[in-house]
Symmetry: C2
Subunit: 381 residues, 2 copies
Amino acid sequence: MKPIFKSALLSMLFFPLTLSAQNFPAGTKPNQHNINGAEWPRVGEDRRVHFRIHAPEAKKVEISFRGEMTREDDGYWTLISNPEVIGFHYYQVIIDGVASADPNGKPFFGMGRWVSGVEIPETEPGTDYYKPKDVPHGQVSENWYYSKINNKWRRCFVYKPAEYAQNPQKKYPVLYLQHGMAEDETGWSNQGMMNFIMDNLIAEGKAVPMLVVMDSGNIEVPFSMNSGQSRNEYGRDFTPILLTEIIPHIESNYRVLTDRENRAMAGLSWGGFQTFNTALPNLDKFSYIGGFSGAGNIDLNDLSSVYNGAFANISEFNKKVPVLFMGIGSEERPERARNLADGLKAAGVKSVVYYESPGTAHEWLTWRRCLNEFVPLIFKN
Amino acid sequence: MKPIFKSALLSMLFFPLTLSAQNFPAGTKPNQHNINGAEWPRVGEDRRVHFRIHAPEAKKVEISFRGEMTREDDGYWTLISNPEVIGFHYYQVIIDGVASADPNGKPFFGMGRWVSGVEIPETEPGTDYYKPKDVPHGQVSENWYYSKINNKWRRCFVYKPAEYAQNPQKKYPVLYLQHGMAEDETGWSNQGMMNFIMDNLIAEGKAVPMLVVMDSGNIEVPFSMNSGQSRNEYGRDFTPILLTEIIPHIESNYRVLTDRENRAMAGLSWGGFQTFNTALPNLDKFSYIGGFSGAGNIDLNDLSSVYNGAFANISEFNKKVPVLFMGIGSEERPERARNLADGLKAAGVKSVVYYESPGTAHEWLTWRRCLNEFVPLIFKN
């Protein structure tokens, strides 16, 4: 017996596939996040993105952040972007004013919805740290648990190093790793390629084998000035969820070390803000802290009182926190982060590590690099 | 430091969220696959789906398989579907002829691309077998391995029962479970809710704890009559990939039983066709076989020669294959499957189990039910 499809469905099925036979611009390759068989968008060696959409009935077709497409005679619309910053960029296709994910692309949860992503590859040698290599691969597993705080089933993703299964007695340190505003617990695996970054660092002996836990920071719905919610309230319930629900769930379901010396937290953008809000006032629970393009509101003139007095005794802080990592991209106005890092160093906070990612913006390539820089520094004491 | 967003990005961020304040039709609830905060589409108690899309600039807006939407004065387009069959249905939003996933929905890989899904809930008691319950939950993990046959990195998903970690010496039987045409290895976890079905069956003692392996059948790109490929060639390379790459990968990375009595294979639609093509000629490797809305081309008049003579000696087949499961939905023309099952029974194939899912179509609710019926039957000998 053969599968049964309505002819309507069949025609939909063939739609994305029968229209992609054409000559391709020299030096371009399909975007690496296109679905199987999709030739467009294409990325050029000159870092321009070539978009091509079949929309004979549309009045206006745009690509978000890049502008209006040009209507061609054959019912296709085309746009060649300016040379783009290296890395991963979100985009949507906007048909007569309605923005959607590109039907030819793999969707990523960002911008508060499922959107598309285009990757401008790095060309320098040694930039394959987030690519799958012939090394032992860990697993990212989906875990469900009931949250009394949110009153619903929640899901977290857990990366286990390849060696975990081969060492049934061994216990591992844990990094709690957060996404940014309008993203969710899928971000680090999908956009962040974290599993390949961890596999490669561990295989090269640069990082200690560890678990990485990625959960929702309850900031999928973007912060709105209209919501009446203050910026400080936004995503605040993640702290008690992490401390009283996620950490106990992980520690009762995995072979992990449970002392503060073996617990780290890092996050990107708003997740970095949440990391500082969660880890600094709870230094009895965390010893390594990372903010990737996002950190805290630290008034350097009032250092003794911020974060429950975490910095009140700086020599004590230096003993407790071997690494306070602050990373940011050179293309996203790094001055404030750099000044904060310099100010903390000047105040005697020896554990500050400042990293500036060359040529990258407030986007995932910055955060992949931050993870790649941060992870080798932790759990080494 | 606060996250930094271009104002363009900010406006995109707020776009899906600021337009959803209105009165809702009585007796409707948001589709369970809507993203966090999205109120539309909504599903009524009468099984009608209420769609509402903001597209003030569009000339024509359609919902696939349901027809044209009506333009309202406020820039929204609306459509109320006819009462729909219970279960999970794919759909796309079509703006001036361009079909995309619904920006308000979670995407599912089906129809050869990432599309949306609407769920018409079952209302009868005892239909919560695929819902998360307060029982021990297994994990679905993502596993990467290099395929020499496809010459690329491939991903498979592996369900481990909750007890797996608590029994470090125990080895488990394995079910290899396949998706259908134009779907991929994500289907059983996303559309199929297989992890909750397995968790519930195992917790109730109805099913033996087992691993379930879900990989790509290499049929993401829909079969095309134009490709020059015969239907029999389509997805054929999955058989050697399963036998020589996936099974060895699983058996060297998990605590599993490796004899034929502890290996089962099932698949839906074209995945059922692949299951029969793979398991029946290799009965030295598989002992339980399931086809969900998809099975083989079995000429009952030539039973002795089909599938390398699997049925040549029927009493031998009955000893080797305790369960040959054939399930199908009552709303998808079940006659051929029923006749095949009856014919095999009449020919003496005692292990045939025929299951007809009442009121369901060639869709995922049929396949969730098939899994729920099949799994309790296997690995019991």
